[in-house]
């Protein structure tokens, strides 16, 4: 018996000494108030949950920097695959991470609608955010509360390989007809105009969002809810154009996924890539010497109307039920500091939502005009209920190529989901 008691006593003593040291080192007023409930000297653990796999390494850097500056707080980043679903399942268990980084999507809309996140509308932090993005969040949720702070935004259109454009002697298209002419030219010379990654159904959404938002506008979905319009009489042009794009893809467009596409496009297997700027870091990783450019998706023949699709890519928010509100706030405040925002947007090729920071990468020149003039619009699929799974409906349509059946199905699924509410 004695033999076992001795080591236990020793380790207990050692622990009490250690914890005494801990409380001495963290002895300023702010820490004492914030860690009130804890026994003195315990580090406050904050879970930072975010949904962008591409941004994991960048956030790791920022988290490390924060942890170093704040010895009493330990932030851990959680970035599971299929993060939005994981977040919803955790919400069902009432186990919401302290700090959440998520896009302004339907998931954000439903979760904030359930009152799970803090309200930032009277928070001074909100004043540093560009008003347009704050408005975007309010439009999305339809509530006067501001349940998240936009951190970065993205832009979606067309990414192109500058060297291949020069070689083929074509210029950047600004209208739909020019766009198809350029694509045809590549096809005629035996090259792929696009590298399509339709095995991953979500990648159908990038061209779909551009076409739908530019041609019909996102008010369409509000009118659809009111019942004044239908997909069948409004979406014909969108469906036709979506289908047209598949004629210029590589062989086996349904057999390749997003990751295959990033690598193949980086290796010059196609001249254009229908993706948003979030794909650029992955493309550059696969081929650091590639020269990339971007241009707005030319959905119509009215060049001035071809908006860049831009949404809040990551917004930061704090769980209402967190036990460490002060520390969580401190971390969010840290991320929103201009130097940290610019580190993030430079690595992620994103656009800042915070005032006073700019994206100066020459790759993005093609989007700059739209950003300065505000020729931007939000993603269409943020307004479509996620239970409809519009991406899989698109994927099936592009295989079966039946426009009428597709439009009918969109209407039918929309009504079915509305009826089940």
């Amino acid at each position: 018996m004695k033999k076992t008691i001795k080591p236990v006593m020793v380790s207990l003593l050692a622990m009490s000494v250690l914890s005494a040291c801990g409380s001495n080192s963290g002895n300023n007023a702010a820490d004492n108030t914030s860690s009130g409930g804890n026994s003195s000297g315990d580090k406050v653990k904050i879970e930072f949950f975010q949904n962008k796999t591409e941004a994991k390494a960048t956030f790791d850097k920022l988290v490390a920097k924060f942890n170093e500056a704040n010895p009493n707080i330990v932030v851990t980043q959680v970035n599971p695959p299929d993060a939005e679903t994981v977040l919803k399942t955790r919400a069902a268990k009432k186990d919401i991470p302290d700090v959440v980084g998520i896009g302004a999507t339907d998931t954000y809309k439903t979760l904030s609608g359930s009152g799970l996140f803090e309200d930032f509308s009277s928070d001074p932090l909100a004043e540093s955010i560009q008003p347009a993005y704050v408005q975007m969040l309010k439009d999305l949720t339809g509530s006067s509360e501001l349940n998240g702070l936009p951190f970065s935004s993205n832009a979606s259109g067309v990414i192109y390989n500058k060297a291949m454009f020069t070689e083929a002697g074509v210029t950047v298209p600004t209208t739909w007809d020019e766009f198809i002419a350029v694509a045809q030219k590549f096809k005629d010379s035996g090259k792929n105009a696009f590298y399509l990654t339709l095995k991953d159904s979500w990648t159908t959404l990038t061209p779909f969002n551009s076409l739908s938002t530019i041609i019909k506008g996102n008010d369409f979905f509000k009118q659809r809810t009111e019942g004044t319009v239908t997909f069948a009489d409004s979406f014909n042009e969108i469906a036709e154009k979506l289908l047209k794009l598949t004629e210029f893809g590589q062989k086996d467009i349904f057999g390749k996924g997003y990751n295959d596409g990033n690598t193949a496009f980086a290796k010059g297997e196609s001249a254009m890539y229908l993706q948003g700027v979030w794909a650029i870091p992955e493309i550059v990783k696969a081929n650091p010497s590639i020269e990339l450019g971007v241009f707005p998706f030319p959905a119509t023949n009215d060049a001035a109307n071809n908006k860049v699709i831009s949404g809040v890519d990551t917004l930061l928010t704090i769980s209402k039920s967190t036990k460490h509100k002060e520390e969580a706030k401190k971390f969010v405040e840290f991320l929103l500091q201009p130097e940290n925002v610019s580190l993030y947007i430079n690595e992620q090729k994103a656009f800042p939502a915070v005032q006073g920071v700019t994206q100066d990468d020459p790759t993005m020149d093609g989007f700059k005009a739209a950003f300065t003039s505000g020729n931007l619009a939000d993603f269409a699929d943020h307004y479509i209920p996620s239970a409809m799974k519009v991406d899989t409906i698109n994927q099936a349509f592009l295989q079966k190529k039946d426009v009428d059946a597709y439009l009918k199905q969109l209407d039918k699924e929309w009504d079915k989901v509305a009826d089940r509410k």
């Binding site: 679903t85 069902a92 057999g255 899989t392 994927q395 099936a396 079966k400 989901v417």
Partner: protein, 288 residues
């Protein structure tokens, strides 16, 4: 006597409590939610009666997932049982390095379904099409998982490849239970190999055959991980299994209650199928 009974209760009651807490209670909860309109995270919800069940029967996505799941489950059950029985017969024969081969054939069972799925996903996208191209076949040079008519066969291939390992072991165990003197007797009578299999081996394996059929069918009906790793239910909804639909619709789609109703119906279906299978196959055992 009383003392012994106490010991039995001590063993049974904790197990019963655990089973109730982690199995029965959630199942009852699921049945309760299936009569509400809860989305999975809101604070409040309403009682909606049988509305979810009525909507299930009008939803062709549900029907579509039932069709896929059943054709998948039936085909994998048949293939797994035929192939694993053949492999078990081979491994039970007098061959060299018998234990080595047994280890090799059991290997796929140790790997996680997801890892196997992701490996095959890569092979289907990048390796098999190159082989197909060399064979000069237009069909084989495409990723089978990207074809809405054939993607389910791709999933069957992966599931069978992995599924045979476990069933082979069960058949091997069964083969060891057959007394050798039966074969000696049949040898004396001059029975052919074929006759020996149908008249001795297969009937003696009857109970193992039953359990393997039920297990493989149950595994097939529950298919989920393979779908996640290989197709995500696509292209379109052509490879969406019932379990996958319940999960994605319930959590991604925010229709927790609606998919709970789907799960309740599915639970009843599985119970009925397993009961029928056992009744039918065990009757076959009796006849011997």
């Amino acid at each position: 006597m009383a003392k012994r009974r106490v010991a039995f209760y001590l063993m049974t009651i904790p197990a019963l409590l655990l089973f109730f807490a982690f199995h029965t209670f959630p199942a009852l909860q699921g049945i309760y939610y299936s009569f509400t309109n809860w989305d999975g995270f809101s604070d409040s919800f309403d009682y909606v009666g049988f509305k979810n069940f009525i909507n299930i029967f009008q939803d062709e996505n549900v029907l579509n997932s039932y069709v896929f799941t059943f054709k998948y489950a039936i085909l994998t059950t048949i293939l797994i049982n035929i192939i694993s029985l053949l492999i078990a017969l081979g491994l039970n024969a007098k061959i060299k390095a018998k234990n080595f081969f047994r280890g090799v054939y059991f290997l796929p069972n140790i790997l996680s379904v997801l890892i196997v799925g992701f490996i095959f996903n890569y092979l289907f996208a990048n390796v098999f099409p190159i082989w197909g191209e060399k064979l000069g076949s237009e069909f084989l040079s495409q990723n089978i998982l990207g074809n809405s008519d054939w993607a389910w066969i791709g999933i069957v291939i992966v599931a069978v490849w992995q599924g045979i390992a476990y069933n082979t072991i069960l058949y091997l165990a069964g083969l060891q239970t057959i007394p050798q003197d039966l074969y000696e007797a049949s040898n004396l009578d001059g029975a052919s190999r074929w006759r020996e299999f149908w008249s001795i081996t297969f009937p003696m394996l009857a109970s193992f055959f039953t359990i393997n059929m039920v297990l493989a069918m149950k595994g097939g009906l529950m298919v989920f991980d393979q779908i996640v790793a290989l197709t995500g239910g696509g292209p379109g909804r052509s490879t969406q299994s019932i379990a996958h639909l319940i999960y994605t619709g319930g959590f991604q789609g925010g229709e927790f209650a609606y998919q709970s109703a789907n799960a309740v119906i599915y639970f009843i279906v599985i119970v009925v199928i397993s009961a029928l299978q056992l009744k039918f196959l065990q009757k076959r055992e009796m006849d011997l």
